[in-house]
Structures are given as structure tokens and as C-alpha cells.
Symmetry: C2
Subunit: 295 residues, 2 copies
DNA sequence: CCACGTCCATTCCGCCAGGTTATGGCGACG
DNA sequence: CGTCGCCATAACCTGGCGGAATGGACGTGG
């Protein structure tokens, strides 16, 4: 009777992968769940969309007809949603923990100054999505950390750089040191972000500074509070922006400067086909980035 | 995260009614269910779509923007589904119990002759939907009984007429009679179809032949088997097409000719914007209607 | 020819979204 | 000021979704 966008995304994933198992892991669901959903779609349409074989799934004539239509359907929905939000004078902004630091409030204030009567709806994203909702079209613009994979398909501007430091438990042997060389940390277990995103994860694990040394993952966390408690429990250490010392001070957690790792870069990213409000927001970001960089 | 067509239909119903309670009964759900679903949609979009008051719901600016888009979205989906079915060489045909009688098989055969390699997918509709799925766009074409309300918005052709007779329990006092006058039946309880469709229901209750006499409804049924068992149990009598005697003979149920009621008219109806396969099917119906009428 | 790997289907189970009924709060209206 | 209509909330129930484990069909390599 009813079809939702999820079903359509499932369908395209299967079509593109040509393989249920792989499509399932790409969508982060189990293979039986996909089987079942696909059956629903097929019985809803009364049509077989794929021919199954032991080598995989291939689209039928009907499946190809549907596949040709689905992107337009999903696009039309995203567009309608974006237009609705615009009409409500609400700008939804994704962000990653403290992505833009102290500048965030100023950016929002500047935007509300520029667009009287608008509201800014800040949505914090989990670290499993370094695009902060941009990739899933949940937000048209986001404050985040660079680089992230898939960056090329969005508009991206750098806002400022800041050094990275290390977060460790106050009980850690190195906690008393004023400064730590990254080479001293190569064998420490780390508290990492989940997910498979390559560039971004590599940056925070400082893969390029490890020269091939293995990473031992002591814990995986999605959100700041989980992260802090993992650090405090001594499950591992982690590289964080220097500003974390101001934003995430907590008993049991200390932050120490680190030498030998590249700085972190904060940025703003947006969907290419976004509306005027988004470009206004980006302008505000850029205007305030200089001020923020000096903090 | 995901939106389905149901949510959009709910939304338009609320927008059109301007009143949750009425929209709820139009959609055959409870009012709290609508409240909850609407909240989901609003929080998904991060936008208030209606302003609530004790006089009802009125669209906000954002709500109007969405309302302007939704028909196109739903239409695009229906279109994509129709095209997919066409590509699969499947024609889905809605029908109402024995709508086209013996002709049905011949029509299907003729269609398969005309369109080599096509399959016809017959979907039986419940009597709560006299359009046999046409109104909900579940099928592009249907075999049904005329008249039904909303008829003007579809293509409609009459196929044949046949007399109506009365179905009654074999224990009924009149069961032994060879023929019955409708005036003798005015005080009998009847087994009726559910739902509010005016013209169609009135026709089967023979409202215009009752001259204002009240109808007593003894039972309401959705499907032939329910109907037959209701008749057999003596919950009431009912007018049926004369052909029912052939299609629905059953122990405990007798069919008797009735005088004083208009005949029943079988027809084919289709969506105006349907594709070639549908018009082919309609042609087959018309070609075989004459043959069927003589049976 | 068999043993194994791959891929899709099936089964069973826990859980949540979406439904229902009952009830509360609030403004409009007589 | 009582009453009615309308929407929100609470408590509860159930069907469907998703997960883990398993089965079955097919191809492939030793």
C-alpha cells in the first residue's frame, strides 16, 4: 500500500551493487532484511524487479524502468523538503561536536542579523558521519572538519586551522608532561570514531604520521560524552583539536600539546544546489573565520 | 529519516479538511494517530506545518509550500509504478466479485492474444471500494458495476446489462416461490456492502425502488464468502446480479427472480492517463461485451 | 566427483513504530 | 458559566522490521 524513501534507497543500492550481500553491508542492514524489503516492493508493484542467480541479482526489464525513475523521485522529495524549510525561514545546519568552536555562536548571530526573522536549527551529527548529515541530504550545510571523503561533490571552504593535542586519562603515565611527542604515543591504544570513512578517520588516527605502525583501537565512540568517559576510563588516548581543552574539560581527562602531528582544519561544506539562505550562511562563516582563527 | 506516501496522504488530508478529527475519519484512522504522524513529519522537516487552534488546523507558510509540492510527488510515484508494470508486461486489472461474469476469461484471453507475452494480474477488490482499486490508483483499469460515484473522472464504458435477482436463505418463507415482487421484500433486513459510496450502495439497496421505505441492515460484508454465509444464516436478503446463481451457488442459499427492480449494468473503467495496454484491454472488453450479453 | 565457497531464501525472535482507547486542557460559543 | 468541539497526551497492544543463525542451490577447484 505504501512506499517510503528507504525502500527506494534499498532498491537502488541492490541495483547498483548487483549483489544483496554487498548492498546490505553498504546500507548497514542485514542481508535478510534486504531480501524481505525487496519482496515487499516487488509484491507491492506485482512485478519481479530482479532475476536471482547464484552469481547475484540483475535487473529485469521492469527493474530497469524503475531504476531509471527512482533518482528523480528521491530528488523531488529532497527538493520539496528543502523548499518547505526555506518557506519556514529555518536553516538547518549540521555540525560535528565543536567543529567551529567559539566562532559558531558568532556565525549564527551574524546570519540572523543578515536574515531577519530566520531561525537556525543546529543538528549535532554522530562521528559515524563526518559529513554531519550532508551526505544523507538531512542538512543543506554543515560545520565540520576537513578533509572528509566525498568532499569533491560538495561546496567546501576552509575556516581556520588549529593545532591538535592529545586527550588522555589523568592516571596515564604521560599525563604529567607539559608536552608530548607523537612518536611516544605510537603504541598506545586509541579511542576512535566508528565507521569506514577513509580520509577523515585516517586524519584523526594520524595514519600518515605513524609510518605504518599498527593502530590498536581501545574503544569506539559516537559522541563526546562517550568519548570522554572512554578516555577517563583509560581505554585509550586520542588526538583532538586544541580547543577541546576549552570545550570538553572534565575531571579525569587531561589535554596535552603534541608535537609531530599536522593541525586540524575546520570548514564549512554545503550542497551545490542549495538556496540563497545557505550561501548567506557560508558568507557569514567566511566573514567570521578570521576572527575565530585568532582565538 | 524516511518518509512514505502514507505520511504525505495524511498531510494532504489534514490540509484539505483543516481539521484533525474529520481528516482522521476520512482516512479511517484515529485522531491521535494523525497527531502523532503529523508530528513525525514536522520534526523530520524541522518545521511547523500547521498552526493549531481550537477552531482547527491552518497551514503555515511552510505548510503551503509543501502542500503545493505533494500532489506532484505522489503523482510521480504512481507514474513510476505504472511504467514499471508496463515494462514488466503485466496489466493489473481490478475487479469486483463476478463483475464481467463468463466474459472475463474471454476478455483476458483476447488481451493475451493481442499482446503476446503479456500477463494479466487480476486483483479482486472488497465491496468497500466500488471502484475496484481505480480510485486509489492501485490498478489502471477495472471491471466493475455501474454506476459508482466519482465515475466522471474516469473513462467508463458499459459492457452489458443483466437482470437482478434476490439471494435468500433456503429457510426463508419466500424461498419456495418461483418469482418474487420487490414490493414483498421491502421490510426484509438486507445484507449490505460497507462504506459510504452513495450511488453504488443505493443501487444495490434499490433505494429508488423503495419509495422512501427505510432499509434495515442485517449484516455488512466485504467479500463473497462472508456474504454467502450471512445469507445462509438468514441475517438478511440481498439483490444480486442474476449471474450470481451460476457463480455463487451454495447449499443454504437460493436465488429467485425479482420483478420491479432495474437491471444491473457491468462496465469497464480506466484512468484517463493510462497507457496503450489499458486501451487495448478496453477494446477487448468492448469486443466481447456483445457475446457476453447474450449469455 | 566431492568439498567448499558464495549467494539468496527461510526461520525464529526481540523490539519499536504505529495503531487504538481513554482522558485532559483549552478556547469558542451560547 | 456550563458545554461543546478540537487537539494533545498517556497507557497499552500488535504487526512489521531488523538481526542472527541456518538451509539450499549453484558454481568452482582440487
Amino acid at each position: 500500500m505504501d512506499v517510503d524513501t528507504r525502500l527506494l534507497r534499498y532498491f537502488t543500492a541492490i541495483a547498483e551493487e548487483g549483489n544483496l550481500t554487498r548492498a546490505a553491508q553498504r546500507l548497514f542492514v542485514s542481508q535478510p532484511a534486504l531480501t524481505k524489503q525487496l519482496k515487499h516492493l516487488e509484491s507491492h508493484l506485482g512485478v519481479r524487479l530482479f532475476t536471482r542467480s547464484s552469481t547475484g541479482m540483475t535487473l529485469t526489464e521492469a527493474g530497469r524502468a524503475l531504476a531509471a525513475r527512482v533518482p528523480a523521485l528521491l530528488g523531488a522529495w529532497d527538493e520539496a523538503a528543502a523548499e518547505t524549510r526555506t518557506a519556514a525561514r529555518v536553516l538547518r545546519v549540521g555540525f560535528l561536536s565543536s567543529a567551529a568552536n567559539e566562532a559558531t555562536q558568532d556565525i549564527v548571530a551574524a546570519f540572523r542579523e543578515r536574515r531577519q526573522g530566520w531561525r537556525v536549527d543546529m543538528r549535532q551529527a554522530p562521528w559515524s558521519d563526518p559529513t554531519a548529515g550532508l551526505a544523507g541530504a538531512e542538512v543543506p550545510v554543515a560545520l565540520l572538519r576537513l578533509p572528509f571523503s566525498g568532499q569533491e561533490s560538495f561546496g567546501v571552504r576552509s575556516l581556520f586551522r588549529e593545532p591538535r593535542c592529545v586527550a588522555l586519562s589523568c592516571t596515564h603515565p604521560l599525563a604529567g608532561r607539559a608536552e608530548i611527542a607523537f612518536t611516544e604515543l605510537l603504541d598506545e591504544p586509541v579511542v576512535a570514531a566508528p565507521g569506514g570513512d577513509g580520509v577523515w578517520r585516517d586524519h584523526w588516527l594520524a595514519m600518515s604520521e605513524r609510518e605504518g605502525r599498527e593502530v590498536r583501537v581501545g574503544a569506539v565512540t559516537e559522541q563526546p560524552d562517550e568519548f570522554l568517559s572512554a578516555i577517563a576510563h583509560g581505554y585509550g588516548i586520542a588526538l583532538v583539536p586544541a580547543s577541546a581543552a576549552r570545550f570538553y574539560a572534565r575531571p579525569g581527562v587531561v589535554y596535552r600539546p603534541v608535537t609531530g602531528v599536522s593541525p586540524s582544519e575546520a570548514g564549512v561544506a554545503w550542497h551545490r544546489d542549495a538556496d540563497e539562505a545557505v550561501t548567506d550562511f557560508v558568507r557569514c562563516c567566511l566573514a567570521l573565520a578570521r576572527a575565530g582563527a585568532e582565538v
